[in-house]
């Protein structure tokens, strides 16, 4: 699959129409995959694809907005949903993006992998897909790890692992079997069933930890505002110290801003240094939007986002 990817990218770059391609390459070592920009044919060979390519590349496409030519992108299902949303939100032109769809079979969570394997990631030299498990090479030995133990949360519940709108594709997805009993919104439902007091205590514990490093915002494809309201001085929405009321404000406003736009790529949670379960917050809004307005972000070009639309007979049971 990597060969096919490299061929496509080489061809695209050779055509002179694409200025650069955004994909993944090795970072600090074989165990560490980072996003990379390939602008020259000589660099094409560094592109990789595997189960450690969890990052959402949608954010980087925004950078190519004003470039001369087109920008290429390796798109898993979630990256492709980001592209659809960015086009819908008039941030990029679909014509300016070359989407190379890749069948994603689930991405591994580095932290979970370390925990299950019991060795630091530095010793891992290779992670391969093998149906419903990963084949991991640690030093000389090869071990297998069940996918459901080490997948990123977003991948466990992933409904659309393949891009539906692409210019090139690397093949069809090989279906893999994971625990079907885990419902998509299980984590949200579980919290919803708790009494109010316990929910408050739960979120207070989470928000208290937040150091407001803004990593969640920076990693989010949907946070493209030139001036974020949290950075604004006048009016100042947010006081600087990362105290509970400010943190609560920060996360709730982010959740509201992402209503109907969150594509559940899980980047916020992945990059959080304090391990705050942010997707449980955003998934709640996602669930409500689906339940109340029957809308799912990133799936179609021609549906109207729920909060810029209304029905005359919308329900108002809360009034």
């Amino acid at each position: 699959m990597e060969d096919k990817l490299r061929d496509i990218v080489r061809q695209l770059l050779g055509g002179g129409d694409m200025v650069y391609f955004i994909g993944y390459c090795e970072g600090a070592g074989l165990h560490h995959v980072v996003p990379c920009f390939v602008a020259d044919e000589s660099e094409v060979d560094k592109l990789v694809w595997g189960p450690l390519c969890g990052q959402n590349l949608g954010k980087y496409v925004l950078r190519g907005k004003d470039s001369e030519g087109r920008v290429g992108l390796l798109a898993k299902g979630c990256d492709a949903r980001a592209i659809v949303e960015l086009v819908k939100q008039h941030q990029i032109d679909r014509e300016k993006v070359v989407v190379v769809g890749v069948p994603c079979e689930g991405q591994a969570d580095r932290r979970r992998l370390e925990r299950v394997l019991g060795v630091p990631m530095e010793q891992v030299t290779k992670v391969e897909d093998a149906g419903d498990e990963f084949r991991v090479t640690v030093g000389e030995t090869t071990r297998t790890v069940a996918k459901k133990e080490v997948l990123l949360d977003k991948c466990i519940h992933c409904q659309h692992p393949v891009a539906f709108d692409f210019d090139f594709t690397l093949g069809d997805v090989v279906p893999y079997e994971i625990d079907a009993e885990m419902r998509e919104y299980a984590a949200v439902d579980e919290l919803e069933e708790l009494p109010l007091e316990e929910r408050r205590a739960f979120w207070r514990k989470q928000f208290e930890r937040c150091i407001r490093c803004n990593a969640c915002r920076e990693a989010c494809y949907a946070c493209y505002c030139k001036e974020c309201i949290f950075d604004r001085k006048e009016p100042r929405w947010l006081d600087r110290p990362p105290l509970l009321p400010e943190n609560e404000l920060y996360h709730l406003i982010r959740a509201v801003h992402l209503a109907g736009r969150c594509i559940d790529c899980g980047e916020c949670e992945r990059v959080c240094p304090m391990n705050i379960p942010l997707s449980r917050l955003y998934k709640k809004v996602q669930k409500d939007v689906a339940e109340l307005f029957g809308y799912e972000a990133g799936m179609e070009y021609d549906t109207v986002p729920p909060l810029v639309d209304f029905e005359l007979d919308d329900q108002d049971p809360f009034i």
Partner: protein, 155 residues
């Protein structure tokens, strides 16, 4: 204005409630209630906005997280909006926000949306009375302004 309510709870608790009233209906309704000399509790601070859709969710969240005890958004009845469709957006947003606030442990009574038209002075007064009573029963919403250093949690 200090945002936190003055009282420390208990029987003498007087909540501070922020009311956003739409210029064309609810604010006129409040006016009517005043001219008609209707009695209502004095816990509300009214802010006039041009339309209930002007109330960004940020307004509500900020008020609540900075220590106000409740937020009430008043707008025209659906179909009566001065700008034709503003309150339809309020309705969708309000519903989402209310569910979210409830999810993070804020009592649903603390954020309410009501429709009050310009001729409904009595409804304005009774709404204020009702909401004030509900929030009084809940007690103060005191945010904690302490720093508690904690390490990253378990994933």
């Amino acid at each position: 204005m200090a945002l936190e309510s003055d009282d420390q709870g208990g029987d003498g608790f007087e909540p501070k409630i922020l009311v956003f009233a739409c210029n064309w209906c609810s604010y006129a309704g409040a006016d009517l209630a005043g001219v008609s000399r209707l009695q209502m509790p004095a816990n509300c601070r009214v802010i006039r906005v041009m339309c209930s859709a002007r109330v960004r969710p940020e307004f509500v969240v900020e008020a609540l997280s900075k220590g106000l005890d409740g937020v009430l958004v008043l707008g025209c009845h659906p179909g009566d909006c001065h700008y034709s469709e503003g309150n339809y957006f309020t309705r969708r947003r309000g519903l989402l926000l209310k569910r979210l606030l409830e999810y993070v442990g804020i009592e649903p009574e603390r954020f309410q949306v009501r429709w009050v038209s310009a001729s409904e002075g009595a409804k304005f007064a009774s709404t204020i009375e009702q909401v004030t009573k509900q929030i009084k029963d809940l007690g103060p919403r005191r945010p904690q302004r302490t720093i508690q250093p904690t390490g990253p949690g378990e994933r």
